[in-house]
Amino acid sequence: MGIRFILMVNKQGQTRLAQYYEWLTLEERRALEGEIVRKCLARTEQQCSFVEHRNYKIVYRRYASLFFLVGVDNDENELAILEFIHLLVETMDRHFGNVCELDIMFHLEKAHFMLEEMVMNGSVVETSKTNILTPIQLMDKAS
């Protein structure tokens, strides 16, 4: 299904957002996140952004204090996923204005909503920032 999960984790290894596209139990999730965070956060800037873990390939990228980790199937295109992460960050940036960890913490449901606009059932369905943000803006207006 392409993308299997998306995680946002800060430098201390605390998960700030977790979105799974397949069912995992709490325990499986806890273990998986722990392992991945340990593996990826230990890596340096000079190392590549792809890590194989269990049957996933993790593509990650760091923005300021936040790591964006995307778990994908093995034959997914790594560079495209990196572009996807970048698009996600740009989108959040446009919405929040200079997005930072706190924005995501306190507006988690919005971050989820953006993700839902972009990804459906593990495949990317929307790549236009304007299209992604329109429903959120509508909702902001309504409330």
């Binding site: 034959d75 295109n77 560079l79 059932n121 369905v125």
Partner: protein, 941 residues
């Protein structure tokens, strides 16, 4: 609204409060959360929906980020879901997608909620429920909601339609029959020009095609068109993935696709697309040389790039292309080897794989040299990666690429000395394996083993113990090649061996025993080179049979008799003097004496064996009172004979045995292997006391020598087999005497084939003819002794590399999914060639597509189902799904042969649902159809 809930809602903490509180808490995170959970549990029971939904929101937050179970709230989530307010719905849907799964009990209750929202006029509500469905759909939901999905697939709201497309994947997976309903509309969406829709639908097809590419071949023209027309990189990447799966199945498609792919490769600025093109070429279009050259050129750019990501991917692409185009790797050799010292372990490992891909007979020595040097400098993890790949590459196909085994054996020795080496077990296996298989290498093997054994420093490294055990075994087994057995003896008995684990120490002692016997034998040979030695044929069979138990560790006598003779003739350079023998015996006594009190049975037992032997020989042979000739004539004869026997026993050559050898032993008549041995317990209990005598070590040399040896042998064989055949060994231990063959060891071993040792019956020294016969008959798979190469013969067994193949066949679900897809596609087959043709000629076909037109042709097509078990077990299905979705007729010259069968089938015009059910019936009685190549013919010709 009741009082308490009003208060609840007034003073309820919002999610924001919760998050802030969590950041500022002083009572500890866990305590704070459990307090919050308590509140939530109360609030969620409120009748006020906004209180309830806020509670649910907080709960989802805690569940998602702090792993707290929210299963208890599943019913509450459903209640919130029924709220008319969008914001409540949103919270509920989020909670449901987060926490529901196939075994959630209230899943049954959600169907109507979903249906209601799926048919809502608010596109955002529809979207929410689709999103949720894509996460929680199970068989029932997929089945019940298929009609709604079907409608949404052609919704005029793009926002909804693309989501419906994306959710279809899950629905198909869970309920394959929905394919018959929805597939056509899905395919129609392929021709949509809206990039959003296209992105979604291509994503779906990419997933579907990964599972079973063959079913989607008929759609190749559509994919081709997207490849040529689309400007969206994401879509192009997905289409390339699909085509990469389809191209190997249809050469004409590959031919067609290769140019556009190369075009993209040349033109695109996006690295992701470029890389996908490269990957497509190297995986699926590797026969097209120019394309591969272009791709390898791009890979080179990746490799020299600063960006570690590109470098890594470049190396990966190279390793894909390596098996077919090794030149691509060789061209980039420098970069690859340089990457071995990259900062990134992933890159290092990729480059290591590539280096190993370059290994051949001719360069294995140099490459291994380079790699071992890298391993010396590398960090422990990578060092072992390197060693592992050297070991596995070199041992592939029974050391296929090794010509010079002397070199390889010394390399093994060298590798085990690398400080971080943790591959002791593998090295051990290979040392022993090579020793058994390659005769010519044995002298070198003994030399390497000696170097390892003699170094006291190595004993301190637990990772090396396994290697040392192999070294000890080899030096004992092939002691006749040793230049200086006395030195070997000292090495085997050095004090630091106390650092070894008992099991390996036992091997050391056993090897020391072998060396000792060899030394004594050489000594005797020297002493009476004039006297003719006792004829080995006269061996009492008691001892010779006990030899057979020596081979319990899975080895077997190979070509018995003659080996013994040749070995005894190869004399060592070091000559034995009286003094050296006395020293030797003393050394053994001093070194092994303390081990008699060892707590480990193996060590203790073997030490006793050796010491018993030493005592005996010392008494008889070197007793100062007994003069040379006299002593020999009187008591010494016994010792002499024993040494001779032992020597012959040890110089039996052990060969490799196939894993499946035991299966080839015919079951003797009347042997009930599965008989319940319960009543044996009683017998054993009776016999235990008396028979334990025969097992004791008493003082062996007071008894007659032959008997004491038999006892020792019993003990020994018990030790050797106790791992795998503990039960049998237990029995043997108790009834030791009954196992000792008195005269006809052959017969006895037939009655009692020892569980693990198919060859024991062949070990009788004086019966090498029988042995030959036996091996031919059953025991041995044929050897392949004659290699035409100049390299030494590597003994091979036929089944050595055979592994039982228990591949799981494709699941039934996939089966039915792709079966359904094929049914549909074959139905639409008559349409597709037309559309593709019109596409190619530049006419958009979508206008015509929309029209529904009476199709005059029978819709029913025969179809071969290739999926079952991967076999072309052709099976036909009736195909009806076009009942409603009729399309215009098209010129179909190509499908003529398939049409021939049409007469047998009836045309069906039924509703979808009707068609769906009916089509499950398979017209099995109708037999073969010609193989289904002409699926995309018009387009490609």
């Amino acid at each position: 609204m009741s009082g308490p809930s009003l208060i609840d809602s007034l003073f309820q903490r919002t999610l924001e409060d919760l998050i802030k509180g969590l950041r500022q808490q002083l009572i500890g995170e866990q305590a704070f959360i459990s307090k919050a959970l308590e509140e939530i549990r109360k609030e969620i029971k409120s009748t006020d929906l906004s209180t309830k939904s806020t509670a649910l929101l907080k709960l989802s937050y805690l569940s998602s980020l702090h792993f707290h179970d929210m299963a208890f709230a599943s019913f509450h989530a459903l209640e919130v879901l029924s709220s008319p307010r969008f914001s409540h719905k949103k919270i509920a849907y989020h909670a449901i997608s987060l926490s529901f799964h196939d075994s959630t009990p209230v899943l049954l209750l959600i169907t109507n909620h979903l249906r209601k929202d799926l048919t809502s006029t608010n596109e955002f509500e529809v979207s929410l429920s689709l999103q949720c469905l894509s996460r929680i759909a199970n068989v029932d939901l997929a089945r019940d909601l298929t009609p709604e999905i079907f409608t949404l697939l052609s919704s005029n709201k793009l926002y909804v339609r693309k989501r419906a497309v994306a959710v279809v994947l899950r629905v198909f997976e869970k309920y394959p029959d929905s394919v018959r309903v929805c597939f056509k509309r899905l395919v129609e969406n392929l021709e949509n020009y809206d990039p959003q829709i296209l992105s979604a639908v291509v994503g779906v097809f990419c997933e579907l095609a990964c599972k079973d590419p063959r079913s989607y071949l008929p759609l190749a023209p559509e994919f081709y068109k997207i490849l040529v027309d689309s400007k969206n990189n994401w879509v192009l990447i997905k289409v390339l993935k699909i085509l990469a799966k389809l191209a190997p199945l249809e050469p004409r498609l590959a031919k067609r696709v290769v140019e556009p792919v190369c075009d993209h490769m040349r033109r695109t600025g996006a690295k992701s697309l470029l890389f996908e093109c490269v990957r497509t070429v190297v995986t699926s279009l590797s026969e097209y040389d120019s394309a591969v050259r272009l791709a390898v050129g791009k890979v080179r750019e990746f490799l020299v790039d600063e960006d570690p990501n590109l470098k890594y991917l470049g190396l990966q692409a190279l390793s894909i292309v390596a098996p077919k185009h090794l030149w691509a790797v060789s061209e980039n050799k420098e970069v690859v080897i340089k990457s071995l010292s990259d900062a990134d372990p992933n890159i290092k490992i990729e480059s290591l794989h590539l280096v190993m891909a370059m290994v051949s007979e001719h360069n294995v020595a140099e490459i291994s040299r380079v790699l071992v040097n890298y391993a010396l400098k590398a960090d422990p993890e990578f060092c072992n990666e390197i060693l592992n790949s050297i070991l596995s590459t070199c041992s592939r196909n029974l050391y296929e690429i090794i010509v010079d085994f002397d070199w390889y054996v010394s390399l093994l020795g060298e590798m085990s000395r690398i400080p971080h080496c943790q591959k002791g077990e593998e090295i051990e296996n290979q040392l022993i394996d090579i020793g058994l298989r390659v005769k010519q290498v044995r002298p070198e093997l003994v030399r390497v083993a000696r170097d390892l054994l003699i170094d006291p420093a190595l004993l301190g490294n637990p990772f090396l113990h396994r290697v040392l055990s192999a070294a000890a075994w080899a030096s004992g087994e092939y002691v006749e090649f040793s230049r200086n057995p006395l030195e070997l003896m000292e090495a085997l008995l050095q004090p630091r061996t106390s650092l070894l684990p008992p099991s390996i120490r036992a091997i050391y002692i056993q090897s020391a025993f072998k060396v000792l016997v060899f030394c004594l034998h050489t000594y005797l040979m020297q002493r009476e080179s004039t006297t003719s030695s006792a004829c080995p044929d006269n061996l009492p069979s008691g001892v010779s049979a006990s030899v057979s138990y020596e081979s319990f560790d899975g080895l077997s006598v190979e070509n018995g008799g003659d080996a013994a003779v040749t070995h005894s003739l190869t004399s060592t350079s070091a000559s034995m003097t009286d003094e050296s023998i006395v020293n030797l015996l003393n050394l053994v006594e001093i070194a092994l004496g303390p081990l008699l009190g060892s707590h480990d049975v193996e060590v203790q037992g073997r030490a006793r064996n050796v010491l018993g032997f030493v005592d005996m020989t010392k008494l008889d042979l070197l007793n100062p009172s007994a003069q040379e000739d006299k002593g020999l004539e009187r008591k010494g004869v016994e010792a002499y004979k024993t040494i001779e026997l032992m020597h012959d026993a040890f110089s039996e050559e052990l060969g490799p045995v196939s894993l499946t050898a035991q299966g080839k032993v015919p079951l003797p008549d009347g042997l009930m292997l599965k008989e319940n041995l319960g009543d044996l317990e009683m017998i054993c209990g009776d016999i235990e006391l008396p028979s334990s005598n025969s097992f004791s070590f008493g003082s062996p040399y007071e008894e007659k020598v032959g008997v004491s040896f038999s006892n020792l042998q019993i003990k020994e064989d018990f030790e050797q087999s106790n791992e795998s055949t503990s039960l049998l060994a237990e029995h043997r231990k108790r009834h030791g005497l009954y196992y000792l063959p008195s005269g006809k060891s052959e017969i006895i071993s037939n009655d009692y084939p020892p569980a693990n040792d198919p060859t024991s019956q062949g070990n009788v020294n004086d019966n090498s003819d029988d042995l030959a016969k036996l091996t031919e008959e059953s025991l041995f798979p044929k050897k392949k002794p004659n290699h035409a190469k100049p390299r030494p013969v590597v003994v091979k067994l036929d089944e050595v590399d055979e592994k039982p193949i228990a591949m799981k066949k494709p699941e039934a679900k996939d089966d039915s999914l792709s079966g359904a897809v094929r049914d549909i596609l074959l139905g639409s087959e008559d349409v597709i060639p037309t559309s593709s043709r019109s596409n190619l000629s530049g006419k958009p076909s979508s206008k015509r597509r929309g029209k529904e037109k009476q199709d005059t042709d029978p819709h029913v097509e025969s179809k071969e189902n290739l999926v079952d078990d991967g076999n072309p077990s052709s099976r036909r299905r009736k195909h009806h799904s076009h009942g409603k979705e009729r399309r215009h007729k098209s010129p179909r010259k190509k499908n003529a042969e398939e049409r021939e069968d049409n007469g047998q089938k009836e045309k069906e015009k039924s509703s979808h649902r009707h068609g769906r059910h009916k089509s499950r019936r398979r017209a099995d009685e109708l037999l073969n159809v010609s193989p289904q190549t002409p699926v995309i013919p018009d387009f490609l010709l």
